[in-house]
Amino acid sequence: MKTSLQAVALWGKKAPPHSISAIMITDDQQTIVTGSQEGQLCLWNLSSELQISAKELLFGHSAAVRCLARAGDFSKQPYVVSAAENGEMCVWNVTSGQCVQQATLPYRHTAICYYHCSSRMAGDGWLLCCGEYQDVLVMDARTLAVVHALASSQCPDWVTCMCIVHSVRVQEDSLLAVTVTGDLKVWDLSSAINSIQEKQDVYEKESKFLDSMNCQTIRFCTYTERLLLVVFPRCWKVYDYCDFSLLWSEDSSSGSLFAGGEVLAAHRVLIWTEDGRSYIYQLLNSGLSKSSNPADGRLLKETVYPHLLCSASAEENQSLPFVMGYMNERKEPFYKVLFSGEVSGRITLWHIPDVPVTKFDGSPREIPITTTWALQDNFDRHQTLSQSILDRFSGSGDEAGAPAVTTSEYVPSLDRLICGCEDGAIFVTQALNVARAGLLHSGSVPDSPAHKVLNGHQHSVTSLLYPHGLSSKLDQSWLLSGDQSSCVILWDIFTEELLHTFFLEAGPVTSLLMSPENFRQGVLLSPNDWTVCCVCGDHSVALLHLEEKRFLLQARKHLFPVTAIKWHPVENFLIVGCADDSAYIWEIETGTLERHETGERARIILNCCGASQLLTPEPAPSAPWETWRHGSVEQGLLGCPGLQAEALWQAAEPEASQRPFNILPVKTKWSSVGFHVLLFDLENLMELLLPAPPSDTGPSGSFHGSELLRRARSTVGRKTLTTKRSGAASPPEPQAPPAAVGPAQGKDAITFLEESQGIKWQKKTKSSRKMLPRPARRVNTSLTLDTAKLFLSCLLPWGVDPELDHLCTRHLNILRLQGPVSLGLASNKGHFSLMLPGGDLCSPETKTEHSRVNLFSRKVLDLSNKYTATLPSSLGTSRGLEDDCDCLQESNTITYLVSRLFLVNKLVNMPLELACKTDRSFKVNSIHNKVKSPVNDILNISSFYGYTRNGKTNSLIPEADLSLVKLISCWRDQSVQVTEAIQAVLLAEVEQHMKSLRKTPADSCPVSLGQTDSRDRVPAPPEVDRPEVDLELQPVWSAWQQCCEYALRSVRPWNPALLSSC
């Protein structure tokens, strides 16, 4: 995931499902972290009044989250580690929502303990893990590498729970662990630290059989340093830590299963059950008596018996199971909190009194629920913005009438969003308009943007396929849709004509797949024939021939969900792999089942097809794979991500790199709730906005650098520089032909006809690769500008200064938002966080000010002021003079703003190594006034972008930019979040810009721009300005290339993935 990609989530009315499977509260008691069966983490804000509100969703795991744990000293690093069902582990920074470290290991953990012994260990401490493997693993908390294992000499088995015992008296740490079969094992941690570091075998010190299975929790009473609480599903027991003799065993009375427990205080324990009930017991001393365990009869023992003090229970009528936890903080502002998470995504909190007592009559007191909050509450409460993507398009226009979107597909080449609905209708809309309608203030956007409705399905649409998106050889008018009642319809997307209906009669069509590009059917099909593969609800697979509109094969004997489909072209076989590891081989010609294999042989068959370079339905990294993931993963048993966002996210990458704007539909597992994510590629956006580089770039001078850069970029699947260079080879072109620009800029309804013509023309030119970039550029210029405006709308803090808002709307055509947007933040490949509706209102200070929309945090204003202070005041006036053409000025300003944001984004996201270097060289720089390379990089970049500010190049590095870069680097060190930094800079820059407008009010902009149709202004040719600009750009451009080259060289040893952001 490249860092220049910015995401905005368009949530629906319903919250995505979040079946909580793990829960914890961070040490500062400000954040609740939950993990879900769908594979996401959710961060909830916990206020000092114990009010909960969901903040953001973290994506990254592709399987259910099994456990969460602290992964560092929380006061220094707010890190939490999560482990998933499939062995993935991630370390998250829970204040920023970024993934710090990730690893996938062949170990599935069920519990993790963080251990750090400052006196004896250097480094970051260890994660002691247990799970579906023998004994205990020791992992490095920072790198997630396996350090060593704690072994057991007797009966090694899976460990289900553990706890670290720190004895104050002897200053020794030990690890208590209980195996599945009920063996309690004790490892001496303090003395083992050296052996572990030297990778010597470490065996347990003691072992004791506890005579119960599936231990849930083991806890050591730190108050008495004597008692040990062990919770089993059917009973909980108290042991004496000194000799592990049993002091008390209490069976489950109500028939519910115990799930965990905690020691509240000396002789006071809290036990909770799987169905959300909890009990507080006082352990009363029964005086000296014979030990309850006859084997230990040699000593007279104190035994204890429990007395129920209080109980608490969650709301009735809920689904099992609950995951609960207890947080005991004795420091003042903190509470004793018992918390529980439910499958429905609800969190309940109980504030446990410091001294729990019974009622006067001795009966247990009921502790009331302090707070309860569900993810859905966030969506209900903050419904201002989060509208379903289609709400504005429901034909009748009434509020309630919008049908739920069941499936959707974004077609980048047409910029269309295709949505299949619950009622069978298929909407085809212009994607940017949908996004604008969804985000921007109503009234400022045309009411009913162009859309088409394809009516033909009687039932809910379950899958969509746009074949042209997978292979350019296919007819681009084709659209395929499958529905709940097994109908597959072939549409002409331009004429809205229903071309053919296939009736499969095999349950809902769960996914539509395209056969691989060079799929040859030998005898049966001519080389250019294409087949579509439909996977249906009854696990059958149907092959459809699109051109001839007929069935080829319907394979109906699969018992388990289909996980893989492969073609064997030579012998004309279709090989279907199922979730139970079996393989079915179908002969396509006759439609008969040739062979059915299970187990090892099936695996070999499926593998050998892939290995011998035969064709699979997922050869390309783009959309076929994406659609495939939809189908297979949803049904797939192993490694099934709940929300397919991750897969989509990754799949979208190659596409996203080519266009500045993209929409990702996100499906959810076990439910029909879905949402959309808008992706803005800052880098790409900027490249498209910037004018072409100078015509006479010396090839000898910059060839090497550009070559390097191109190679680097091609590794990430991008060829932006080729675009640039081929653009450079030709004389500066006019910005856009009026015909193509007019409709988009005017925000009028674009007819499909026009568009399709444009596309066809574009397609023709596609044949020569060198020609491709230019047409794309032309068509997109105004669209790009619109995209940039939408992006800026999403980022601007509206309502901070009403006058500023007004000026923005008027002069820059940046429209006001309906409400706060849900921004996404990507941390690395496949890991990102999405803000939830109302997630920005978590901090109490912003909650009060309703007039402000979309201010990420209070910090932004301060940062912005600081930034303004560093901005040289002279710039404002100089910029005021330049506006000779409104339209050009508008687009220039927007380009400038975007480039600034790009720079800030890059600076804040800069990897630590580079950052350190920069800082060091800053010092050098200030002392010796010697410019070191990393600084130079940044300065070059900044000055390069600085060009756009006033259309003139300053070949000298301005002092101001240096200080700005310094300031932003400083923010990074203060761990200011990227979004905050970006917003602060944007606000400051816009303010600065508007200051000049305020100074020279009406003269420079004679016509009110916002109100009138901007169509006539648009084609205003910028040629007048351009050559001059281009010429002046040249030195900067080559400097830019040089700096890129340098960056490549310096960065390569650490992280090749970084290149994308350079």
Partner: protein
């Protein structure tokens, strides 16, 4: 446990029959719902009366009655499977009984052995190896004080007990409220069962240095000669013992040294580096023996996986129905 019991020993026929039955049920279910949906649509249009909705009634029956019946059956099968693994604490409190397995291969009789299995651990081993070079008989035996845990069996057993635990609290008194809930439960159970089965069907692929470093080589009473390697694993229903005879490669040997990768069974000629020596496998002897109760367990896994999938399919038939209800 009559229903599952019938499957033992006739695994192929049984699963085949199940497959056909399932296909038929599926076809009828689909047909029925298509018709019902038509009724549903007409009713919704005509009367708007949702209470007499036949599909809702059917779905309710499925959630309240049928699901529990299937879960009951599933639990029975899994209980039976877990008995095979002699789970401690599952009724049989006595230490697991010892079973002797005589290993042999259909080909040569160079290796003969008796392995004693006690639950998930090998407690005794008696292996006689006829050295091919000098026809000398080599006797290998376990140390008295040590047992060798068969990790595969232990993992399979633990996975089954996890599955049982997942089902433990879902008896008739528990009300399923949504289809998604059942699907989630089934997914979790199937995950455990698939892992249990895969653990038995796919032995670990080890490299030769890994085999040499494993604790198994230290299990023998007169310690293992340096030119022998031993590996024990489960493959499907069979307990397998492989003995590798090694010879050292001369340092100046013209042979191209290429260390072998991981494999379940290495073939003669595989090379590896151990310590400072380069070694080559000269002979491989593999002997095996069927463990009947592992066969049973595998059949139970397959049957219960099919049960789970069928239940999921039944629920999915109503997917258009349940997924739009508020959670």
């Amino acid at each position: 446990m009559p229903r599952a019991g019938a499957g033992v020993g006739h695994s192929r026929e049984e699963s085949g029959g199940l497959r056909w039955a399932a296909a038929e049920t599926m076809a009828t279910a689909m047909a029925a719902t298509a018709a019902e949906r038509a009724v549903l649509v007409s009713r919704a249009a005509g009367f708007g009366d949702h209470r007499t909705d036949p599909q809702e009634e059917e779905f309710r029956w499925l959630l309240h009655a049928e699901v529990h019946a299937v879960l009951r059956q599933l639990q029975d099968i899994l209980k039976e499977a877990s008995l095979r693994f002699a789970l401690p604490g599952s009724g049989t409190e006595s230490p697991a009984k010892q079973e002797n397995f005589i290993l042999g291969s259909c080909g040569t009789d160079q290796v003969k052995g008796v392995l004693t299995l006690q639950g998930d651990a090998l407690s005794q081993a008696d292996v006689n190896l006829k050295m091919p070079r000098n026809n000398q008989l080599l006797h290998l035996a376990f140390r008295e004080d040590k047992q060798w845990k068969l990790q595969q069996i232990q993992d399979a057993r633990n996975h089954v007990s996890q599955a049982i635990y997942l089902l433990a609290h879902r008896d008739e008194s528990y009300q399923f409220k949504t289809g998604a809930e059942v699907l989630k439960l089934m997914d979790a159970v199937m995950l455990q069962l698939t892992r249990a089965r895969n653990r038995l069907t796919t032995p670990a692929t080890l490299t030769l240095p890994e085999i040499a470093a494993s604790g198994l080589t230290r299990m023998f009473a007169p310690s293992l000669p340096s030119d022998l390697l031993v590996n024990v694993y489960i493959n499907l229903n069979k307990l397998c013992l492989t003995v590798y005879q090694l010879h050292a490669l001369q340092p100046n040997s013209t042979k191209n040294f290429r260390p072998a990768g991981g494999a379940v069974l290495h073939s003669p000629g595989a090379m590896f580096e151990w310590g400072s020596q380069r070694l080559e496998v000269s002979h491989v002897h593999k002997v095996e023996c069927v463990i009947p109760w592992l066969n049973d367990a595998l059949v139970y896994f397959t049957v219960s996986l099919q049960l789970c999938q069928q239940l999921k399919d039944k629920i999915s038939v109503f997917s258009s129905y349940w997924s739009y209800r508020p959670f």
